[in-house]
Amino acid sequence: MIVGHLLKNGLTRPILITLLILIAAAVLVPVANLALPPSNPFHVSSFMVALTGKYLTYALLALALDLVWGFCGILSLGHGAFFALGGYAMGMYLMRQIGSRGVYGNPVLPDFMVFLNWKELPWYWYGFDQFWFAFVMIMLVPGLLAFVFGWFAFRSRVTGVYLSIITQAMTYALLLAFFRNDMGFGGNNGLTDFKDILGFSVQADGTRGALFAASALALALGVWLTAAITSSKFGKLMIAVRDAESRTRFLGYRPEMVKLFAFTLSAVMAGIAGALYVPQVGIINPGEFAPANSIEVVVWTAVGGRGTIIGPIVGALLVNAGKSWFTGVLPEFWLFALGGLFVAVTLFLPKGIVGTIAHGWKARRLLIKSREEQKAREISEEQAETEAAVEAAQ
């Protein structure tokens, strides 16, 4: 019941509209792909379903970053690591589903292990043949890493740019570790050649549609949860920690605990995003841990508007759509465009797209209100004048 109260609390009109759009997309896009013939103008190609499905997982990752950066002031430059860990957990499940259909036909060992002459499955691969186990690990592994990392960093009062640097170091360290063949995660090739998910072929249009719908619904759930949390008293406390951390201590709060909760929850969200990303793109490799990836997430969030819930989603969708278009037209210049975009947003739109629109909207409403008040005052003054004139005439 208390959870119900919390969830009901966050449902403002913009959030409700966002949820409805996402749920509608979850239904309509797969239907438009599967039920309509390619000649129909409303047909969505399988390519577009996979591409937009991927964008939705990016949007969930950006939302996760926004929860810690926009609302709690923790600029994580390593959120890609949690995304990649969730992705690897899903990848391990998908590898185990291949079974004896691999190139070497080993029923237990994935191809790369056979290739490396491994005789048995490493202990940390146990259980990943079960979906429920992989599902738990998708949330547990990123969450646990974030909890341990945050526990030490926040308790030692590491803040600001120092924290950003160590989050960056964390993802870089994981990048190097996952590149190594003897880690048992496929080295620089990563995990790929997936066949089935829950018994359905990952290549089939129906599965792709279902994965798209799952991504849209996961994003909707993320939006709802973030809205509920940020509108609770805890959300106000997060903003207080962001704006004046030491002041909250003197009110008796423990900002390190506030940050730890937000950081861990955010890592779990990022892990789920990564897990939905992997079956849609068909591969996970150590490149996902690259520091540049994490920085790109920061750019999406900044462009859309940090500290808003819809902003990071808009930012992730727009920037990635731009990236897909740009890399098609002028592939060499994409990184310059991305860098330029970040500089431009920082200089001209510090609140981001959604933040600026929301601000303008609020200012407009205030203006209209003050004009109405002015008019009401003028009318009442006029009335008073005419009344006085009437009295004088009498």
């Binding site: 208390i2 106000k236 002041r247 003197f250």
Partner: protein, 250 residues
Amino acid sequence: MTERRRNSILYLDGVSVAFDGFKAINNLSLVLDKGEMRAIIGPNGAGKTTMMDIVTGKTRPDEGEVYFDGMVDLTRHDEADIANMGIGRKFQKPTVFEGHTVEDNVALALAGSRGVFSTLFYRSTSAGEGRIREILDIIRLSHLRGETAANLSHGQKQWLEIGMLLAQDPKLLLVDEPVAGMTDAETEETARLLREIATDHSVIVVEHDMDFVRELGVKVTCLHEGSVLSEGSIDHVSADPKVVEVYLGR
């Protein structure tokens, strides 16, 4: 001496702290009785703010004893613990949560559980709402309850911070330069407010403004170079030749 400690709300004995060899506090001893209001004066660098940092757990003393309420050794606790035990602090530079409304600022300070999950599932109560209204009335900000704190004037921020102190309902209030940057009328109003608060709280006020200290009409301690230079009524202290030399004469 232990008898003296037991009856005190705040007890500092032989406290010293040095930063890079500079003794900010040097063998400072100070006792505040329960329910007492005390004004602390002293030139810049006398150690007034450092003393508050020590009491609120921000700075650990190198040596000396710091006791709260006669029993609690404050050197063993951190800021959040000390705040929850009942020591509230208003900073020299008014520090409110600029992004929040006036009402939310007071609501965050309001006494209650401080844990992650209790704030996550917190539901406002009518008693809490009533208390917030009461405090907003006391600090004369009722008409601005929905205003973002960033839009308040300097004096209003000072008042809001005093309101947040009240909402915490501490046993001991440490108030650092409450009237800095205020108009005369606001200063007078603040003195009235502090006297009112002092009727059922122990208060330490750090202030430069001698007229304001005189208006408070309480015992005064003058600090200089990290220790007590003179103590007594405002007339006694301001007539003390040592005080005149280091502070008032300049």
